[in-house]
């Protein structure tokens, strides 16, 4: 029943054998020990489980792992280069764009995809791209400040 899949995860090739009904989130967290992405709502609404597949944000809770076969997967653990934080991480730190941190990985990855697609989005573009991720501690104002700062640099 298991199917062998190969993904490039944070730049490194990895091969796992998975049942076709397992989700990408489950495989990345349980098999690859990359737990930065979190299960939040389980129905693609909250954004806590966001991963980038071929550079595009998806809800990993609802992607079958077999569907990621042959693709590039980016997790929050892959953002920093060694000890050097990604500019988005720096900006989130500077503006205080997180409290409990459960949504942070999703916000960072979504923001990375947005900036890769459009390096200088305006406020409306930021809201349209980022608006479907929830921060329940209420850091939206700080998140906007952090994103604007990177979008304008």
């Amino acid at each position: 029943m298991k199917k062998a899949i190969t993904m490039e995860v944070n730049g490194a090739s990895c091969r796992v054998e998975v049942e076709p009904w397992r989700t990408l989130l489950d495989v990345v967290r349980e098999e690859l020990d990359l737990t930065g992405a979190k299960l939040g709502c389980d129905i693609q609404v909250c954004g806590a489980c966001t991963l980038l597949v071929d550079g595009k944000p998806v809800s990993a809770c609802s992607v079958l792992a077999v569907d990621a076969d042959g693709r590039k997967v980016t997790t929050v653990e892959g953002l920093a280069e060694g000890d050097r934080l990604h500019p988005l991480q720096e900006s989130f730190m500077k503006f205080g764009a997180l409290q409990c941190g459960y949504c942070t990985s999703g916000f960072l990855l979504t923001a990375k995809a947005m900036l890769d697609e459009n390096p200088h989005p305006d406020d409306e573009q930021i809201k349209s791209y980022m608006g479907g991720s929830f921060c329940r501690c209420g850091c939206y104002q700080e998140i906007m400040q952090a994103l604007r700062s990177v979008a304008r640099s």
Binding site: R29, I43, Q89, G96, L98, C100, G101, R136, C137, E142
Partner: protein, 769 residues
Amino acid sequence: MAISERPQSAQDGQRLDYQAKLTGRAAYLADMKMPGVLEGVVLRSPVAHAWIRYVDTSEALKVPGVVAVYTKDDVVQGTGIEPYYGPVFKDQTIVAVDKVRHVGDPVAAVAAETREAAEEAANLIVVEYEDLPPVMDVQDSVKEDATLVHETVRIPEHGFADLAELKPIENTNVCTHFKLRKGDIEQGFAECAHVFEDTFILPTTQHVALEPHGCIAAFQPDGRVNLWSTTQNPFVVRTQLANIFKMPVSKIRIMVPYLGGGYGSKVYPKIEPLTMALAQKAKRPVRILLSREEVFYTVTKHAAFIRMKTGVKADGTFHAREAEVFLDTGAFAEIGPRVAKKSAYTAAGPYKFSHVKIDAKSVYTNKPPAGAFRGFGVSQSAWASESQTDIIAKALGRDPYELRMQNIYDEGDEFVTGEKLWSIGVKGCLEKVAQEMKWGEPMPAPDDPSKVRGRGLAALIKATITPSISCAAIKLNEDGSVNVFTSTVEMGQGSDTAMAAIVADTLGISLDQVSVLGVDTDVVPYDLTTSSSRSTFHMGKALELASLDLCEQLRKFVSEEHGVPFEETRMEGGKVLFRENALDIREVLFNHFGMQGGTLVGRGEVKTSTVDPDTGDKTTSSFWFVGAGGSEVEIDKDTGRLRVLKHATAVDVGRVITPLGCQQQLVGGAITGMGQALFEQMVWDNGILVNPNLVDYVLPALGDMPDEITPIAVEVPHKNGPFGAKGIGETSLIPVAPSIANAVDDAVGVRIKDLPVTAEKIFLGMLDK
């Protein structure tokens, strides 16, 4: 102790938890790995109210990989456990025993090698129910012929001191009835020129911490048990578990990783008793991680029905306030009786009344249990009180700001309980908010002629849990660095950083010399709870005292070793000073221990009581939260759609400890308030919850935010707070909903008395006017 200057170490926006959280390396409960762990799955009731006739687990036990199935038989006849528990009344059981009392009530649980096997087995458990009529709202529940949710309620031997006088009313669904009286209410109304009567309603809502509840329980060969849990109050949970499982607390060790949000949803036992019971039965470690749907069945915020009657003198003086507050505590008391009590204290708002009669009832229904929620009963009473304040102002032709300022508490005023209020900067908060909202200035006309704008204000007062206790310890290492032992749970509010800052500033060392251990009940001293916005005030003070204890020990060493009188030594900037000498901590320790080694332990405790130790006066709350909020809204007249353009929130914080944390708590609380004001409600149809998911239970999103939310910290220091600081976690949430409803009325003349304030209510209100 005199109020100190504000701390300096955490001024630069630094937070101790950020590096881990930003890189995905922060471990939350679901990220932890435990060898040999079984997955626990809960079978829950599909009906709101029914007798359980039998539970048959025979098919479930045949599923490969199943290790244990836990049912009511284990609770009743099992392993010598105490079946009944609960923080106020013992009305909860590990799984339902005689009947189920709400949809989602746990009926059985399975531990299996995989989640898949556990789920399959849970589906194979056969339960026969005999339906009872469910009571789904407080008004039905208090009727004489209402079906009883609990036939009897057990009272614990050692309950909370502040709730000792409250008991369930037999043969009714009234869980508790708290009465607050001042003056003579009938005489009060008779003396008034105007009397106003209104009814206000709030729906049940849920906290929706993005991290669902979870627990891992692992018994050790010697009978001790280790638990990792998403709890805000590990020591209370430990006490409850010790009572249920008849074990000394020393054998129950609870560790708490970072929480992915709490907001009150993770206080008191949740999934811990069941996880531990399952682990005990399976003789293996067990982990239960709740699904999003299960979270909605685990704890909610109280729905409320509030009748409010207010008498006002001809000159606008508030004179008499009568209120009947019904709080829907759901199927179990949980902490509902205290929520009702806190709601009662503030049903007269932050205003001076000569005559007050408040009746606050916590009422059982067949909904999931309601518990603590950021705002703790005060969101409910403030919704009524602050809405009615504007109704009164409008009827009297008075400016709502002026009317509030005329009646609002000031320093030393007498509260409804008769005690004096100190450190009570509510007037300043309201002033600052009015200024920020440009109150009194004409509103700029919207560009779009189909839109209209309005402004609204609201103010509040709230108590913190009293009496309570916080103990803390800090360990000074041989190199002068410090380890902090505190049970305050870092759930996003920035407590690790605030606690470390208080220690660093008291000792005069830099923040990077301080480490906070994290919560482990085997190691850290007792603390009642991380809730009620109490941690900075109580635990912060305990850590300040622990730091001062260390300072004293260091000065004593210097005094003894150098033969200087103790009084002539002092500690400043991380050094012990005497005469012209300045010894750094490391040197003092080296001299004392005679080597590079040794440990000093500083201890601190804060114990509050209902009597002020300095004055002997009665004290309902060890400090008071006060604040105010203002909203500017724009409404589309064709659709009723509302947009909040601006919100300002002012909170009397006592003293700012960490500026970033303070900003985050003030703005974050306001945003949570916007969800409660505009979108959130749990909806039932025939006892079934219609929307236990995040598609249909709507949360506030980035695009719903106003252009600006302005946090304003007003500083009226408190004599007992660390550096004068008070709690800040809940205040900014409370005025949001009434300030928005008041702004809606200002814009379109529609008064909405039931939350949430939806486009439909505004539109139909305009249409039917």
